[in-house]
């Protein structure tokens, strides 16, 4: 299944400058963690800037699935959902 993922400017160096990428993720309803793993496969190095070594999203990174913020990486991502990664505005 293909997902369109909006990439914030601090992470675009991993995607050849693209603001939007389309990634393929196997399975009917993959988890958000699966989607981010697929993003890492397509764009190596991007995940560790977003997720720490214990698998948690870093404090200033938010991931929207459609209109809702999702921090649970085990949450299922519906078919066709839009994903937006945001480097949060945190303090000016």
């Amino acid at each position: 299944m293909d997902y369109r993922v909006a990439i914030p400017s601090p992470l675009r160096s991993y995607c050849a400058g693209a603001a939007m990428v389309t990634i393929f993720c196997a399975g009917e309803t993959p988890t958000l963690g699966d989607v981010l793993a697929a993003l890492e496969s397509a764009h190596p190095g991007i995940r560790f800037r977003m997720q720490d070594e214990q698998g948690r999203l870093r404090p200033h990174i938010k991931v929207f699935v459609d209109a809702d913020v999702e921090r649970n990486l085990a949450a299922r991502v519906p078919r066709g959902a839009g994903i937006m990664i945001v480097a949060a505005l945190s303090g000016g």
Partner: protein, 384 residues
């Protein structure tokens, strides 16, 4: 263990180099200052990694062309960039320093970079915040935790929790590899103290006797101290100089008890600071840059009057060196990696300030000149 004395690599180069280059790591990127052998005219280039917090940048002296830079941004996780063409192009590490999954620990930033022993090309060590020790065997492309330290059963006792330590986070720094023996290493931690390994990092033991820790209920501790910067003396890796939270110390191995060398500092200035910079060719000479460690620890030049202090006698006496620096109302200071020397016979001494100025002396600190201004907060200055 007694090791045969030998010349430190730096001591071998007594001819004046043809040029000098300073790597300036800042809160907003990496700059370079370059000069020819006269060291009178300096050219500033950069920035590289604009917007990245660069804690340290180092050249590999074994090949003269590999550079590593420890970086992160406000939003993104920590990483290491590497260049194999002296900084023309950079590539990110494939596997940056990170704790083991399941350990529960998270690297906030890589703070310190040290090239490995001359006999081990490609080996580098990194110290992180919170305290972690990492090693690369491929020139900085892939990093792995040094289990002998990171998983040591005493590590938590030595370091405290990951939330303890300095205001910018607890740090592992001052990674020293004995030039005579690749397996003999020292590390220091703020906080935690100084530790030694005789087996390449497989095991560690504390080395803090004689060092004060007057911020602790029991000041006579085996570990838990706050060394700010520890360096080898030039040409004599059996001599260590230490700038500590609680004073200035020197250790001459095989002794295990540090000697207090802060008594010669004026009481009005004190003995608190971050950097400790030995002379490149003289084991009895070193520089420090005191800061105000009174009251709530303002961490600025005492009285707004910045000055370096130099010893010529192994720390017995210290001489103020401030000619050319502002005489008043200068409220900056110098962080632990932000002061360095070049390899000229008459050593050049350089420091970067928290207010973004780079100062240099081409006469061993007798007079100073501002070489660059208006840079971001400077974290590290390395002469290469």
């Amino acid at each position: 263990m007694v090791r045969t004395a030998t010349k430190h690599p730096a001591a071998k180069r007594v001819d004046a180099p043809k040029r000098v280059r300073l790597l300036i790591a800042t809160r907003k990127g990496l700059w370079t200052l370059s000069a020819d052998g006269a060291r009178r005219t300096w050219k500033l280039t950069g920035p590289q990694f604009l917007g990245h917090i660069v804690h340290h940048a180092m050249l590999d002296p074994r090949d003269g062309k590999t550079l590593l830079a420890a970086a992160r941004t406000g939003h993104l996780g920590p990483t290491v960039f590497r260049s194999i063409d002296n900084g023309k192009t950079w590539k990110e590490a494939t596997t940056p320093p990170a704790f083991e999954p399941g350990s529960g620990r998270v690297v906030d930033h890589t703070f310190w970079l040290t090239p490995g022993h001359a006999s081990q090309p490609g080996v580098w060590f990194a110290g992180t915040s919170p305290q972690g020790l990492f090693r690369s065997d491929d020139g900085g492309a892939n990093w792995k935790g040094v289990a002998g330290f990171n998983a040591h059963p005493q590590r938590k006792a030595w370091c405290g929790g990951d939330q303890d330590g300095t205001p910018d986070g607890p740090k592992l720094h001052s990674i020293l590899v004995d030039p005579r023996d690749a397996a003999h290493m020292y590390i220091s931690m703020s906080s935690g103290g100084t530790f030694e390994s005789n087996d390449g990092g497989a095991d560690w033991h504390p080395l803090n006797q004689g060092v004060r820790a007057d911020f602790q209920p029991n000041p006579d501790l085996e570990f838990g101290h706050d060394p700010h910067c520890v360096r080898f003396a030039a040409g004599n890796p059996d001599r260590l100089y230490q700038q500590n939270h609680c004073g200035l110390f020197r250790l001459d191995r095989p002794q295990t008890r540090w000697q207090d060398i802060g008594g010669g500092m004026p009481k009005s200035v004190g003995y608190v600071g971050f950097p400790m910079v030995p002379h490149p060719h003289d084991a009895n000479t070193a520089w420090i840059f005191p800061m105000d460690g009174t009251d709530v620890w303002p961490r600025i030049s005492p009285g707004g009057k910045p000055a370096a202090y130099r010893t010529r006698d192994g720390g017995k006496t210290w001489k103020r060196q401030a000619e050319g620096m502002p005489k008043a109302q200068a409220w900056w200071t110098v962080k632990r990696q932000a002061m360095t020397v070049d390899l000229f016979p008459a050593a050049g001494v350089y420091f970067g300030t928290t207010s973004g100025e780079v100062w240099g002396s081409r006469d061993e600190g007798r007079s100073w000149k501002c070489l660059a201004a208006h840079l971001p907060h400077i974290y590290a200055v390395e002469s290469v």
